[in-house]
Amino acid sequence: MSVFSPAAVIAAPQVFEVKTLASRAATALPGSLLESALYVLLAVVWIVALLALTGLALIYLERKIAGHFQCRLGPMRVGPHGIFQTVADTIKLLVKEDFVPDGADKVLHVVAPFLALTATILLLVILPLSPILQAADMNIGVVYVTAISGFGVMGILLGGWSSNNKWSMIGAMRAGAQIISYEISATLALLVVVLFAGTLRLSGIVQSQADGWWIWRAHGVGVVAFVIYVIASTAEINRTPFDIPEGESELAAGFHTEYSGIRFAFFFLAEFINMFLVAGFAATFFWGGWMPFHVGGLDGFNSVMDLVPAGAWFAAKTSALVFLVMWFRWTFPRLRVDQMMRLEWKILLPVGFVNLFAAALVVLYGLYFFPGT
């Protein structure tokens, strides 16, 4: 039977074999040290390239989308349709003076952007972009995601505190209160997915959605968990309408008021990559990540869907979510601090608990679609 006959393609749905860089390196490790060192190098090059390119693309997109939402054109001058605007801005930030204000805690002021960007890079490492493009795939994946995204707040808190500036201080305190509060709701939403998937490994979670994505397979609780996760993580990355820590009309620039030049760029980059990460993780947990749109049992339909490569599915889902988060910014006005806290502690948290127990009942009695597989 020819490989190219349509019957062969349609007959059996594709089985995705997860071979991340780390697992390949681990199998190569007893064989040759050089080979595994090569894998590590490859992973490092890939993550750094991903960080730089996503950063450039997202900042350009944000400005273009903001422009078009307001009937403007956005950047147009540097390069065709302004595509080199971000590059020009990066160079500008690089040659700007980078100073520490008088009376600031010098060590912490320098260390804070390090912490913010380190948390972001450590999250990029575990994001599954396709069965192959995932640098590390740990067995505690979901816990790791929660822990490291909580770690990002340290950079903001230290940056604001060490600046010896009242705007920075207020912004940092607000950021701390906001991020830790919304982390609870994000965790409760992720617990719903862990209940359904029965694994914490990110590649395992994606593969558990081979019969359908959890957002529709989980009979309603998936949708609620998804909405809670998107709201909570928008708040965790300080995006509008939750940009209270850097509300420019009240706090100058919030926690990064005293940052200039390249260290401001690090905060800025971390913020944009975090947006990509939040979209990527929401897609992974609720929309199946790189898993094509499958319906359990419909093998013919599934194999047609498999014709689109896994990486393209991930890219499409993540871009859609990134656009959603950017859309929020031009749709919702900024919340007040008390409204923001009320939303979390009096609405999202109780709803999250009820949803978690509803999900437990759904899993217990197998009420979701295709429970047998």
Binding site: L117, I121, A136, V143, S181, G261, F266, L364
Partner: protein, 117 residues
């Protein structure tokens, strides 16, 4: 274990990347000091009083509540992981555990700890 080793590698990579870029900036960016430039930016008005003062107690209350619920989430992860094996018994046990915390939340709510002042 190799995955954890990679995480360690990337912690170093992140630090090295930021360090290298900082070094480049240090070489090509201008540096200088003047009295007015070093002052904290508070919209042009001279700063009054120290920055590091005692802060609103509201933040502290929310941090305490966060601690309770975050530790609770850490306990819920293993339960969610093995939920298919522990079944209804596990659900009831976790229900009792979470109920205690929810009573705590209700108490904090009733006492007004969730009101922002």
């Amino acid at each position: 274990m190799f995955d954890y080793f990679l995480i360690l590698v990337f912690t170093g990579v992140a630090a090295a990347m930021v360090g290298v870029v900082l070094l480049i900036a240090r070489v090509i960016a201008p540096r200088g000091w003047s009295r007015s430039k070093g002052r904290p930016y508070e919209c042009g008005v001279g700063t009054i009083g120290p920055t590091w003062i005692r802060f609103n107690v509201g933040y502290y209350l929310f941090a305490l509540l966060f601690l309770v619920f975050d530790v609770e989430a850490a306990f819920l992860y293993p339960w969610a992981l093995v939920f298919r094996e522990v079944g209804l018994t596990g659900l009831i046990e976790v229900g009792i555990f979470v109920l205690v915390l929810i009573v705590g939340l209700a108490y904090a709510w009733r006492k007004g700890a969730l009101e922002w002042v």
